[in-house]
Every structure is written in structure tokens, then in C-alpha cells.
Symmetry: C2
Subunit: 229 residues, 2 copies
């Protein structure tokens, strides 16, 4: 029996490493990418396809779904172009303006619907608790609740979401990427829409600090790289 699994691939480093882990555990992958109207969609989609090429995902199992209806809800700088992106200012426990309310639930619901149609039982998502900038839907307890919901809300109740990197730091994620020969050069983490990553948004700052702590040079290009203490 085919043992295909779905991987949610935004195109960022966390989803890249998650794909690399899924590729170790299953010989056939399905990649799902959600376009929810974020500023960086073009660049993320390019990363998605480069990563899918690397892991030889067949075209029938690369799915890009438009969730731009989230723009009709608003409440986030990632989807609402009127709001400014929060820059990184060291230890910040506030939920940043890039928060889309309940976003991961939309994303995972989509993966579960697709899983039920194509007969997949395992969905990989690169959620990370430690560096999650306070998003409530990156907590392990959220995923426990999600798996309970899936059990209750699907025909056979066999589908499960797995979060292989949820307990890792960005440093550990970089090391895992290197260990699994994941193509880090294809990933895109920046919250701004430019040819080169900005180096100063929350997401760039977390990524760069992870590389620095891991003692690895990030292979992508930056407009500027922040200094750390």
C-alpha cells in the first residue's frame, strides 16, 4: 500500500526542514501550499516549487489553494496592506501585527479535506513553538486539540497532523536542515516582498539568529544583516 503523506509547504525554512523529515519517513509526498494574499506570495510560491522539484513531488500532488478570502476578514499586516509589518526588537512577547486570526486552522482544515479525498492519513506541518512570536496556534496543545477535532470530524477519524519540529529552536532547525541535506538555498522566510530578503523583519531576524547560533552561513542573499549581542 502506498504510504503517501501531505506536507504543508509555505516555502520557508521550517516547512523545508519538515519536508526533509517527511521525505525520510515516506517515499511519496504530496505538497500543499496556501496563498492567503500575503505580500510575499510570488516569492513563496517560487520557493514551494523549487522545494517540490528537489523532492520529486509529481504535479498531481502539488496543490496550491487560494485562501485570499482571509483578506475579507482583515486583522493582519500579512494580508491587510494598510498595516505596517512589525520589525524585530529582541525579546518581544507580544503577538505581532502579522497575526491572521485562527490562520493555522484554515490551513490545516484544507489539508485534512485534501487528505480525505486522496486517502492520506498523515499531515506534516512545520509549526515551531519556541520561535513562534506568540502565535497561539503554534502551541503543542493546539495540535492535540486539532487531532481530537479531526478524529471527531472526519469519516474514519484516522487522519493525524504531525509536528516534527515543534520543540526545536531555530538553531536546531538549521542543524537538522544541514544533516538532511535540505536545499536551504530554495527557502524563503522574509515577510517583505523584495528580490532579496530584508534581514530586519521578525522572520528574517529569527532565521538569521538561528544560522548564527548553529554556526552555519545562510546561503540566501540579504539586503542587510542585523547585529546581535
Amino acid at each position: 500500500m502506498e504510504n503517501r503523506v501531505i506536507v504543508l509547504v509555505s516555502g520557508g525554512m521550517d516547512s523545508l526542514v519538515t519536508a526533509a523529515i517527511a521525505a525520510q519517513e515516506s517515499s511519496t509526498l504530496a505538497f500543499l501550499h496556501l496563498n492567503y494574499g500575503q505580500r510575499t506570495e510570488g516569492r513563496e510560491l517560487q520557493a514551494f516549487n523549487l522545494i517540490a522539484d528537489h523532492y520529486q513531488v509529481e504535479s498531481d500532488f502539488r496543490k496550491v489553494i487560494d485562501l485570499t478570502f482571509l483578506q475579507q476578514i482583515g486583522g493582519s499586516s500579512l494580508t491587510d496592506r494598510q498595516m505596517e509589518v512589525t520589525h524585530y526588537h529582541g525579546e518581544d512577547t507580544q503577538i505581532p501585527t502579522s497575526y491572521v486570526p485562527f490562520r493555522n486552522t484554515h490551513i490545516i482544515a484544507m489539508a485534512v479535506s485534501w487528505a480525505e479525498v486522496i486517502g492520506v492519513e498523515k499531515i506534516y506541518i512545520g509549526a515551531v513553538f519556541e520561535d513562534s512570536s506568540g502565535y497561539p496556534d503554534c502551541r503543542p496543545s493546539y495540535y492535540q486539540a486539532m487531532n481530537q477535532l479531526i478524529k471527531e470530524g472526519t469519516k474514519e477519524g484516522k487522519i493525524a497532523v504531525v509536528t516534527p519540529i515543534i520543540s526545536m529552536s531555530k538553531q536546531q532547525i538549521v542543524k537538522k536542515a544541514v544533516e538532511l541535506s535540505a536545499p536551504l538555498e530554495h527557502s524563503w522566510s522574509c515577510y517583505t516582498d523584495s528580490r532579496q530578503a530584508c534581514g530586519v523583519c521578525d522572520s528574517c531576524a529569527l532565521r538569521l539568529r538561528g544560522f548564527q547560533q548553529a554556526g552555519v552561513v545562510d546561503p540566501i542573499c540579504y539586503q542587510q544583516r542585523p547585529k546581535y549581542d
Copy 2:
């Protein structure tokens, strides 16, 4: 403090009665309607607006969101126009072909995102367990799991989904509609896209049986009405 609540209003009888109950419990309502590419969308949207007019819902708080991405997933006769609608054949415990995998999760996730943006803490949905044709996401245990997920996945964890008619039979729902003077003539339940309800699809059959058992005449017009034992 304003005590606005959100009601998910498909335009069917169950959502109508749920709106009537919500109107008793809160003086200000917000209505959310989801277009997920069902055959009957035009007729349902008309019902939605008639019901919203009846309950004097302001235009800023009537939201219609396009979830037609569900068509990209397939797996249901309601969204996949190649599949035939299952007709009602008495006691049928099989999940009908009108099943959209995990559909209610998409719908509720949308309501929760909106609730967080507009500061609402209560979401009413007209889910019904008894006459649910085997949809797994109409079970009370599904809603318990959903409320746990919302608690874990939102900023303050204060939003809750309520299901005031989940334990009612269709007969009780008809009686409740009459008791609350809900405008039954505005509701639309049929799964086919015609000027008059077909009278033979699962949804018409369940509705008509409810009226018959309640001893009430359904005020909408039908092409035909089935005979019951």
C-alpha cells in the same frame, strides 16, 4: 457593552431557527454566509438576505465569504458537478454524496477569524445531530472538540461556538420556528438549483417530514411532495 453575536446563516430552515434563537438572546446580530460553490448558491444567498432583512442585520455585519476553493478539493456532489445528488430512500445511515470533507471546520474557522476581528465571543450554528445524514461534523462531540481548539488557537480563548438546536428533531425545529415567528417562507433547504424546491432530495425530504410530523404546512412551494408511510 455591546453583546453582538455571529450567526452562521446558510439560508436553510435550521439556520433560520438558529438566527431566531440568537435574536432572542442578543439584540445585535452579525450574519455570516459561506459560498462554497454549491449548486444552490444563488437561491441560498437570496434566503440569507431575506432573513437578514427580517432580523434587521446592518449591512456592515452581513458577510458573504467565498469558499469556492473547496471545489479544488472535490469529493462531494454539492461542489463537484460531475457527481449525482443522492436521493432520499428512507432510513439511510450511509454518508451521502453531498458530503464535503471536514466542511464545517472551514465554515467555523471563518466565523472564528471574523469574531476575533470584530470582538464577538459567541458564534451560533444550526448543526443538528439527529437528522444529520451521518455527517461526522454534526455530532455534539465534534463541537466540544472545536471549542477546545478555539480555546487553544485564539488570542484570548474566549470565543465559543453554540449549537442551540443540535438535539432537536426536524419536527421540534419546525415547532420552534412557529413559536418564535421565524419567517419560514424565506428559508431554502433544497439541494437542487431550481425555482421551486424539488421535494425529493435528502434535504427536502427531511424538511417535509419535519413539517408533517409537526402538523404544520410548509409555506414554500415544491415541484412535488413525497408520500410517507
